[in-house]
Symmetry: C2
Subunit: 154 residues, 2 copies
DNA sequence: GCTGAAAGTGAGAGGAG
DNA sequence: CTCCTCTCACTTTCAGC
């Protein structure tokens, strides 16, 4: 699938505000509302638009503390990897995770209530797991996401 | 501001699908559409709902490679921190960044076209910067975000 | 603070260019 | 592929509960 300038405009607008009405979307992209509707339907079907998510203030949902936990697995077998992967996906404290190349295999972004919660969680969800060889926890002072599209998406 | 069960329901629904029509939102939360509208307006005004963002397939916008770059600053002065912070916010390759406690000061999630782009970018945006003392780059095999709310948000 | 009706507006489908 | 029109459904406001 090949995207043109109008597709990038629609993506850029939806990336900044996913609840923008179709009418406004069309106007700002310089096309008719029905055309915008059709384009967005196609972008979704092609898997370019994967979803729309609300961003929620962490403190409002009881997240007073965020941390990054580096995890090194005991071995690099496929079975162990899959098992740990599935485990990560089931933890509500996990906000996001990265599977990376390097000495540590995973980097896990977690959100917890307080430091006691963090200690208990790190112990139960990582240290006590058979797949895990070693973890390292870093507190997050600030986390920010970027809603811009790359420069070449003109 | 104190949230009740219905607020959490609305947040949970919008977190999973930010484009869900208000009517459906109300129905699934068990309230009238006008009530849902009012509640969401208040959640936005209170800063609980901070925004709505589309999730876009990286490859579709020319991101063939993602990496995590650990950055250590030369000193920990406020001026240097602010300067580097502002710099990060202006880079389109930066998808997100963490300001963390520990030996490294920042962890930057970047998306680039290919390995040549990554090398050039790491050099120009980090290594050559006066604020930066040292960087370390790790390739990302997989990145996943969690759209669930914490367990206590019933 | 929630409900339900009423007015205004946008979404979405079908057909023409 | 894009636009226009038309219908239908949704959003949004407001008075009443």
């Amino acid at each position: 699938m090949t995207l043109d300038r109008i597709d990038f405009d629609l993506l850029r607008l939806l990336r900044k505000n996913a609840r923008l009405p179709n009418k406004d979307l069309a106007e700002r992209a310089g096309i008719a509302p029905s055309t915008a509707l059709e384009r967005i339907r196609r972008l979704r079907e092609a898997g370019v638009l994967q979803g729309f998510h609300a961003e929620i203030a962490p403190e409002a949902i009881g997240i007073g503390l965020q941390a990054l936990i580096s995890v090194r697995l005991a071995q690099h077998s496929r079975a162990l990897l899959d098992s740990f992967h599935a485990h990560l996906r089931g933890l509500p404290e996990v906000l996001a995770f990265y599977h990376v190349a390097g000495a540590d295999d995973f980097l896990v972004h977690v959100g917890v209530g307080d430091s006691a919660h963090l200690r208990d969680f790190a112990l139960a969800a990582f240290t006590e797991r058979p797949e895990v060889s070693r973890i390292e926890t870093r507190l997050i002072f600030e986390f920010q996401r970027n809603a811009e599209l790359p420069r070449h998406c003109t």
